[in-house]
């Protein structure tokens, strides 16, 4: 059995609030084998009566020793996310295994331009890619289009502002679906072909495209990219959940 399949007992070592309903869990995972940006872990919770359940969470951080960061959006009435988002406390153990999934992953040796399109919590694995790009000193041009409901729903807001300023070759564009910041040039609307065309790469640059978010969002954006002439083989998707954001 390969090491990534072993259940490991991680400890929560720090917490960062990203929004009112999402927080980043900084975990220390003994003997963590490292990971690629875009991969996820399986988290297992076990109740006192032996009942146990698992969910997948993307890794938010670039590979960094035994530290693994997850960012969890609390889903109302969810079984697992409210526990990770509210109950789990510093020092508590949590079981996980991974890293899982080598397809929705960005490799630092890759030279193609990259287009990242996130809907809501779908930013998590894409942020890992932005962080891994910086960690590797890669100069591959990256563009991120990040769709959120309101300005208060942006994860990693300060870091994204800083990276867009300091990381040469990284562009960040936002789309707001419910409320826009003061002075924003357009009313709130769903991400459409205009935004993808304006802030993405032309298809003939042959970018690697990574789309992540709720199922409906990913379906829409993937269709747009294909309609704009992107080769479906270069459009990689990760669907987080059933409902629209």
């Amino acid at each position: 059995m390969s090491a990534r399949l072993v259940w490991r007992v991680a400890r929560l070592t720090a917490i960062r609030d990203e929004t009112a309903t999402a927080r980043t869990l900084v975990l220390t995972v003994p003997d963590w084998p490292g990971h690629l940006a875009g991969q996820h872990v399986d988290v297992r919770l076990t109740a006192e009566d032996g009942y146990s359940t698992q969910r997948s969470y993307s890794i938010a951080s670039a590979a960094d020793g035994e530290t693994v960061e997850l960012t969890v959006q609390q889903v109302p009435d969810g079984e697992v996310s409210p526990y990770l988002g509210e109950v789990l406390s510093i020092g508590d153990p949590v079981e996980l295994r991974g890293p899982v999934g080598g397809y929705f992953a960005w490799r630092p040796e890759s030279t193609a331009p990259v287009l990242l399109i996130a809907g809501g919590s779908g930013i998590v694995p894409l942020m890992a890619m932005i962080r891994a790009r910086r960690a590797a000193g890669s100069r591959v041009p990256f563009r991120l289009i990040y769709s959120v409901r309101t300005p208060h729903d942006i994860y990693y807001a300060d870091e994204l502002r800083m990276r867009a300023r300091d990381d040469a070759g990284l562009d960040v564009a936002y789309a707001f679906t419910r409320a826009v910041p003061d002075g924003w040039p357009s009313p709130p609307r769903r991400l459409g072909v205009a935004e993808v065309n304006t802030h993405g790469w032309p298809a003939d640059f042959e970018p690697e495209c990574f789309i992540c978010g709720p199922t409906g969002f990913v379906e829409t954006v993937a269709d747009i990219l294909v309609a704009l002439g992107h080769d479906p083989q270069r459009v990689r998707t990760e669907r987080f959940g059933p409902s629209g954001a």
Partner: protein
């Protein structure tokens, strides 16, 4: 059993239906696919079974839908942990499609529009265990869920039920498909929790 998660109780549990280990029940129909959803016009759609000798048996959309149909009601188990019980489908049994096919193969590779592949033992497609389905819940199968037609092999994890099915290639030797190459289990029995290689 895992270590106890302090303060975790889980959702109130009734002694409900038995689920495979590690699965939880959902009423939704989540989607797992690696790329965009292919859109395949019915006029050009076809499905073929190709033997190890290279002989191809091909059905157009009118030909497939004219075959005797079955309406299986089955439970689905996805490797991403959700299970959905009692789903209703309409389609053609692989027994019907393989009925006239001459082969000595033991393995099958399902191939999809869009390039997806997944491998299965041929035996798992026979004896009323697998269908090419084109209706879900009384409606034409939505592209997101694999329409116009997908393979349905409900006794294995759902990634074996190739969406947007285009053909089945019969093989003498087992060859890993798309997710199997990426580290998923070569067989994928939910009741034995065969998620990843080595499980």
């Amino acid at each position: 059993m895992g270590i106890i998660s302090p303060g975790f109780r889980g959702r109130p549990r009734s002694p409900g239906p038995q689920l495979p280990p590690g699965q939880y029940l959902t009423e939704d129909f989540p989607v797992l696919s690696a790329g965009p959803t292919p859109r395949i016009p019915l006029e050009t759609w076809e499905f073929s079974i190709t033997t190890e000798a290279g002989t191809a048996y091909t059905w157009s959309w009118p030909e497939l839908t004219a075959l005797p149909a079955q309406t299986p009601t089955v439970d689905l188990h996805c490797v991403t942990k959700w299970s959905k019980l009692g789903t209703g489908w309409r389609g053609v049994s692989l027994d019907t499609l393989l009925g006239d096919v001459e082969t000595a193969a033991d393995f099958a590779m399902a191939r999809s529009y869009g390039g997806y592949t997944t491998n299965l033992p041929l035996a798992d497609l026979l004896d009323g265990k697998a269908w090419i389905v084109y209706e879900y819940d009384g409606e034409p199968l939505h592209p997101e869920h694999g329409g116009p037609a997908r393979l349905l092999v409900p006794h294995l994890y759902l990634w074996k039920s190739a969406k947007w099915i285009r053909g089945i290639q019969l093989l003498l030797d087992d060859v890993p498909g798309f997710w199997e190459t990426a580290g998923y289990h070569e067989y994928g029995d939910p009741w034995r929790e065969q998620r990843y290689q080595g499980d």
